[in-house]
């Protein structure tokens, strides 16, 4: 709309958590660019570091975690990692909207949505609170809700899908143009999920946003995202335009993952589970490729050398085997 959608450049981001076994990286050396006005989807299994990455975008990794290296450049805001205090607080909400995991609990259970909206306005020095409420009602109406009623409700009076829409409203009402959605539809049923995804797409287009959607469900990403990034064990193993990545995955993990998705049509016997199990923070290999334990294309080099993310056309893949093949 008024403002050009900003771009986001994540570069060499590493986030570590302090555990009894020392500081372990949950996100390791991740570089990712969110093109202005695009929807980028990140998929990965539980514990692969998606939420951590998402929080890093707001420099909001919770202790005992911290960003240990890298930068997150956002147009018009600079490097978020360097921000702190009031500056950072103002950036959150105004510049970057965050939509919480469909968790039923992103709202204060004791206050009505409207009151929380006003709190938000006051926090960001909005003078025209009436205008804010009007804007909120409009947004809610846009998402198919009765704005006045919703603002008068407490969290427990809203259904899961409604709460999620309220979450989106709160992320956008201050005109943020970078929006991060962490598992926006987990725990919602299919129909509601489809609704939310539709809304995300529409609102994104209307308001000129740069959007990051995080999910473990490839279907969700496929439905909304222009670009898709796959995380495994804290690493970004492959990224590229959604259709391409889905249509012809290159990284063995991406391939395995897509193969493992139960499909509604087609030959069910084609589907295969990946062998082994996903790593946890403690079991991620310290060096070498994080995926090698479950990889069919494992080579000797995988044990010692962490594969670089290599740009291949529209895509980036971090795999020795793929790189070798490419070069061959």
């Amino acid at each position: 709309m008024s403002k050009q959608a900003p771009g986001v450049r994540i570069d060499g981001l590493t986030v570590v958590y302090k555990t009894p076994a020392g500081e372990l990286p949950a996100v390791r050396d991740v570089s990712l660019t969110l093109e202005p006005g695009s929807i980028t989807g990140i998929v990965g299994e539980s514990g692969s570091g998606k939420s951590t990455l998402a929080l890093s975008l707001l420099n909001a990794v919770q202790p005992p975690g911290r960003i240990s290296a890298g930068s997150v450049e956002i147009d018009g805001l600079g490097d978020v990692v360097g921000l702190g205090g009031e500056q950072l607080r103002k950036a959150r909400g105004r510049h970057i909207g965050y939509v919480f995991q469909a968790a039923q609990n992103s709202l204060n259970p004791l206050k009505t949505v409207g009151k929380q909206l006003l709190d938000l306005g006051r926090s960001h020095g909005v003078d025209d609170l009436r205008g804010l409420v009007r804007e909120a009602k409009e947004l809610l109406g846009r998402m198919g809700l009765d704005g006045a009623r919703v603002l008068d409700s407490h969290q427990h009076e809203l259904s899961g899908g409604m709460r999620q829409r309220v979450g989106i409203m709160l992320a956008l009402v201050l005109n943020a143009h970078v929006v991060v959605l962490d598992e926006p539809t987990t725990a919602l049923d299919m129909i509601t999920q489809a609704n939310i995804l539709k809304i995300v797409r529409e609102v994104h287009a209307e308001r000129g946003l740069t959007t990051l959607v995080i999910t473990h469900d490839i279907g969700v990403v496929a439905e909304v995202a222009d670009r898709l990034a796959v995380m495994y064990g804290g690493r970004l193993v492959e990224q590229g335009p959604t259709r391409e990545v889905l249509g012809s995955p290159r990284h063995p993990y991406t391939r395995g993952l897509i193969k493992a998705i139960p499909r509604l049509v087609g030959d069910i016997d084609e589907a295969r589970a990946l062998p082994g199990r996903p790593p946890t923070l403690a079991t991620v290999p310290k060096q070498g490729c994080v995926f090698r334990e479950r990889c069919a294309l494992r080579m000797d080099v995988c044990d010692d050398v962490d594969p670089e993310a290599v740009l291949q056309g529209t895509r980036t893949v971090a795999c020795h085997a793929v790189t070798v093949k490419e070069h061959a």
Partner: protein, 336 residues
């Protein structure tokens, strides 16, 4: 609103049943106490130099009424009396109905207990928030351990220590009753000042005794709330610290209301010690006195009224809770 009204009705019904049960308990306990105070008093008066016959006569006058009828009839009588606030006659306070004696004493217990609760609640929750926020630091450890200890240590230990320090070693505070008689009762500075001065030690003991519990409860409650998503969500929306703090506080305090009643019960129970140590003429002292004097009606009454105040406090706490928690207000079941 109807939900609150229904809750209130439920509470009142249950409270009434409780009161009847407690009254029944105290009635039967009192009746089963061994020893015939009448016979014993005769002996006592003889020792004081009274002629045996005169001693008997004086005792009969003192005890006046003798329980009449079967135990069942007495019971019915007693329970009937309850509804007209008639708890019988006190023996030691001859001629005074138990209700009057209790009413006199009640204010000296209820006010300091409430003051102590309020004080400890306010200080405790603030410290509890700190203990939660600084839970991995030194301050948090100190607050938590001191909270546990204070919570763990029985009230009489605190009372004795305070009394030893402030009334004996450095005698700066009185420990001898509720007010200095030289001040004319009424709304004047001297009288009120004296009241306050005398209340400092008992209130401080109540407050210290309850403080540990609050700090612990608040700490764990805050830790729980801090882990709740909506706090992180508020932070990620860039809400002001002060607003987030209010969010935390309100959500964390809420569950404490369920403990409030329990803590009041504890304090009222502790009144027995504290009033004995500071010679504060409240219900606790009355209870001890009635026990040592074998004033059965008074004893039953004191016990009953202590219980009733806890029941009432319970109801108030719960109603308060339901008023400020919208989930309860709208009739949803909340697990506390």
């Amino acid at each position: 609103m109807t939900v609150i009204a229904r809750r209130l009705a439920g509470h009142l019904a249950r409270g009434l049943v409780m009161i009847l049960v407690v009254a029944t308990i105290s009635f039967f306990i009192v009746r089963s106490i061994p020893g015939d105070p009448v016979a014993a008093n005769v002996q006592k008066l003889i020792e004081q130099g009274m002629a045996p016959q005169a001693a008997e006569q004086a005792t009969r006058v003192l005890y006046g009424f003798q329980p009449k009828g079967t135990l069942w009839e007495q019971y019915v009588d007693y329970m009937g009396g309850l509804f007209t606030f008639d708890l019988g006659q006190s023996v030691t306070h001859a001629g005074a109905p138990v209700t009057d004696v209790l009413a006199d004493a009640a204010k000296w217990t209820v006010l300091p207990v409430l003051a102590g609760t309020l004080l400890s609640f306010l200080v405790g929750i603030v410290m509890g928030v700190y203990a939660a926020i600084r839970r991995s630091g030194k301050l948090g450890d100190v607050l938590a351990i001191s909270g546990s200890l204070l919570h763990g240590v029985p009230q009489y230990v605190l009372g004795l220590l305070l009394s030893a320090i402030f009334a004996t070693l450095i005698p700066i505070l009185p420990a001898d009753g509720p007010v200095d008689i030289l001040f004319e009762p009424g709304f004047n500075a001297g009288y009120i000042g004296s009241l306050v001065e005398h209340a400092v030690l008992p209130v401080a003991t109540y407050a210290l005794a309850a403080y540990g519990g609050w700090i612990l409860a608040m700490k764990s409650s805050v830790v729980t709330v801090l882990g709740d998503d909506f706090i992180l969500a508020a932070e990620l929306r860039g809400m002001k610290r002060s607003i987030i703090f209010r969010y935390i506080a309100r959500n964390a305090i809420l569950p404490l209301f369920t403990i409030l009643a329990l803590s009041l019960g504890l304090l009222l129970g502790g009144a027995v010690f504290i009033e004995r140590i500071f010679n504060y003429p409240g219900l606790g002292l009355l209870l001890i006195e009635s026990i040592t004097m074998r004033d059965y009606a008074l004893m039953g009454g004191a016990f009953l009224i202590i219980t009733v105040s806890i029941i009432v406090a319970n109801i108030i706490a719960d109603l308060f809770y339901s008023v400020i928690d919208p989930r309860v207000r709208s009739g949803e079941e909340v697990s506390a």
